[in-house]
């Protein structure tokens, strides 16, 4: 062993470089992980926790869909069903989609895209992971103590009644703690982008993923504390009868809705903005073309983050708020569609006359365009007052937000995961099977959620454990779709698992991307860079040349890891 290492040192060869000291081999033992301050290791821990949450939320979803196979319910009792749809929502939103892209992928990639050695506050980063884990465990304890049947929105008066049980108090606590973790992540990212850009990288020389994470940070730092104080007040209301939210004591439950949506509407941009960031990276790299309209995409992220704060009332058109409030919120909701459309047109313009390569990440991104298109356009029906009053609380809403939050964010997350997988693990996966999995996921998604627009239009209310027989065909179609979607996900999990065991060694830059995370070896060394590489621009492909499929791309300015 020792002799072999010596030989490798004396005769640097391909084997020697592939077995370089990297962040995975740098230290050993479980303590080197859970006390690690390395953003890459924290990112990996987040990734594992987030994928487990996705699995848990996905199992809940399958229970829901299988139960709805029959009008009278096919699997569980009605109260149990209520627990499942509530926890499906809570786990997917708070434990998977919100932290998914920023905390797992962002954590790994952000410092490297800056050419930096770590985030500005590594300890805070670890703390934020601990808080996330504590919150996740609390959500699992909720299951053990009899569950939660309020819907993820936790609306009072129902949720704060004295008879509700321990589940609500635990869920409020868990939300508070997970929220804190989200604030700390956003703060850390913003401070890092703000103060650790290398010389030669101005604001407009950053990869668009960083703009997206920065804009996400704004929302996390500004909106999440409001959720924190809301759930804290809910907790105190339940314990001490404050009379802030409970009508029994003179409180105002609609005030809770205002507070809740002041956070939870911007929260959908915490989910979608990083997803859009990934799309901007992937679409440019796999079209072999500099991103079209860089400044517009960057600024539209900020615009979404800002305007997103002014539209929360569109969740409350039927709550009894005044007519004028409704009209203003409806108008502003249309307004927020503008920056999203700007992005989509810029992505399409990037692809125009590009040299498009249909690798797995790009397949997911093409799916993203379709899903985000459907999700965005059906949002218009819900933003318009007249149609929303009819569609409110139907399956139309369920289908719409699944298209945006799951369809778009999940596909972008998977695009990002496959895009950075070689960097994170140092292994290539099987392109063919990964692409088949991607297509299964997206086809399954369409079969699951397109029928729900129809049943919603026909008046199928959301959250019901049973339904009228007339909706049966659409519900069954939905369930079949869910099974296809799940099989796609499991196939993809298998593909990634196999790549870990038997995957080919990944080159430093397999896709020919120009941002700095590809200027490190795969997997990266402990400190990412000995010194910051020369900045050539995140979408400048002129400096790259393809050597071969196995050796990937190299920079022609002579700077290579």
């Amino acid at each position: 062993m020792v002799a072999a290492t010596r030989t490798a040192e004396l005769h640097p060869s391909h084997e020697a470089t592939s077995a370089h000291d990297n962040y995975l081999t740098h230290a050993h033992g479980w303590k080197s992980w859970i006390f690690s301050l390395d953003h890459k290791r924290i990112g990996i821990m987040y990734l594992c926790a987030i994928l487990l949450s996705l699995l848990l939320g996905g199992v809940f979803a399958l229970v829901i869909r299988i139960h709805l196979w029959a009008p009278e319910g096919a699997l569980v009792s009605n109260p149990t069903y209520n627990n499942f749809f509530t926890l499906h929502g809570a786990v997917m939103i708070f434990l998977f989609i919100i932290p998914g892209i920023p905390a797992a992928l962002g954590n790994f990639v952000l410092p490297m895209q800056l050419g930096a050695k770590d985030l500005a506050f590594p300890r805070l980063n670890l703390l934020s992971f601990y808080l996330y884990s504590i919150g996740a465990v609390l959500f699992i304890i909720v299951l053990a103590v009899g569950g939660l049947d309020t819907g993820w929105t936790l609306y009072p008066p129902y949720s704060l009644e004295g008879t509700r049980g321990l589940g609500v108090l635990l869920a409020l606590t868990a939300t508070f703690i997970v929220g804190f973790s989200s604030i700390l992540t956003g703060l850390n990212f913003m401070a890092t982008v703000h103060s650790m850009r290398p010389k030669g990288m101005g604001w407009f020389d950053m990869p668009l993923f960083l703009w997206a994470l920065f804009a996400t940070g704004i929302i996390q730092v500004v909106a999440t504390p409001v959720l924190g104080i809301t759930v804290a007040l809910g907790f105190l209301e339940r314990m001490f009868h404050l009379g802030i939210f409970m009508p029994e004591y003179g409180g105002d439950p609609v005030l809770f809705q205002h507070f809740f949506w002041f956070y939870s509407h911007p929260a959908v941009y915490v989910m979608i903005l990083p997803a859009m960031g990934i799309v901007s990276e992937v679409v440019s790299v796999f079209s072999r073309k500099a991103i079209f309209g860089y400044r517009f995409i960057a600024m539209s992220s900020i615009a979404i983050a800002v305007v997103g704060f002014l539209v929360w009332g569109h969740h409350m058109f039927t709550s009894g708020q005044s007519k004028w409030t409704n009209i203003i919120f409806s108008f502003l909701t249309f307004f927020v569609a503008v920056p999203s459309a700007i992005k989509v047109f810029n992505w399409l313009a990037t692809m125009y006359k590009g040299d498009i390569r249909l690798k797995t990440p790009m397949v997911y991104v093409l799916g993203f365009f379709a899903l985000f298109g459907v999700g965005g356009l059906t949002g218009i029906f819900l933003g318009s007052l007249a149609t929303d009053v009819a569609l409110h609380d139907t399956y139309f809403v369920v289908a719409h937000f699944h298209f945006v939050m799951v369809g778009s964010v999940l596909t972008a997350f998977l695009a990002g995961l496959h895009y950075w997988w070689p960097k994170i693990t140092g292994k290539m996966y099987d392109e063919r099977w990964a692409r088949i999995a991607a297509i299964l996921v997206m086809v399954g998604f369409f079969i699951t959620f397109l029928p729900q627009f129809l049943s919603g239009l026909q008046g199928m209310p959301r959250r019901y454990a049973t339904y009228l027989p007339v909706f049966k065909p659409l519900h069954q179609l939905s369930t079949i779709g869910a099974i296809v979607l799940a099989s796609g996900m499991f196939l993809d999990a298998w593909v990634l698992w196999v790549s870990l065991r038997r995957g080919k060694q990944a080159p430093a830059n397999p896709w020919g991307a120009a941002s700095l995370e590809w200027a490190t070896p795969s997997p990266p060394t402990h400190h990412n860079f000995e010194q910051t590489p020369p900045i050539t621009g995140p979408y400048n492909y002129d400096v790259l040349e393809e050597v071969s499929e196995e050796a990937g791309w190299v920079r022609n300015d002579g700077w290579n890891p």
Partner: protein, 244 residues
Amino acid sequence: MSSHAKPSGERRFLQVHFETMGAQLAASKSGMWLFLASELLFFGGLFTAYAVYRANHPDMYHYGQYFLDWRMGAINTAVLISSSLSAAWSVRAAQLGDTKTLKATLWLTLLLAGAFLVVKYFEYAHKIEAGYIWGGEHCVDNLKVAGKLTEHQIEHCLSALPPEVAHLPIPEHMGRFFSIYFVMTGLHGLHVLIGMALYVWLLRRAGRGDFGPKYFGPVDMVALYWHIVDMIWIFLFPLLYLIG
């Protein structure tokens, strides 16, 4: 970790991912300001609740205000403003490397913070003893609810009533004013307590001689935090004690 010899002097506090002490300080500063922004939004929810209830139930605030002693509030305002001065002074002392003044001002800030909480304690104790507590539990709200209060509690509640409210009609769900009062001042008090813990930590580090002209970030950051705690009180005092 690198195999270089440990740097001496204040550079021993330079983390590996920063190139200079200045870069490290700039990052801490931007992080701290963002944290303070999120703190403002955290309290912002409470200020909004205050405003909503004030707009909808002005009579409740008019009535409730007489229960708060503005003199106590004024003393505490003076105490906190002085503590902010000494906090700012401690930053200057650290920058100048004047350890003696640094320790003295850190101690002064800590003591003033403690004094604030002592005054707060007396205010709370008085109210809780008389039964002037939060929401549905407030004794004035329950005066007419049969069987809710004992004879003794009713007597207690009435005898401590401020003279100004004797002729006023009792507003409905009066206890909500006290819910808002207790949650806002309670959360603020919690922040004061956290600030005190931070000053104890700073004192220990100052005792070890950690701070000097090149490394004073922690003193600076804690002072920033302390100023925001002070500033929130500057809003709480008039909103709760002065404008009925």
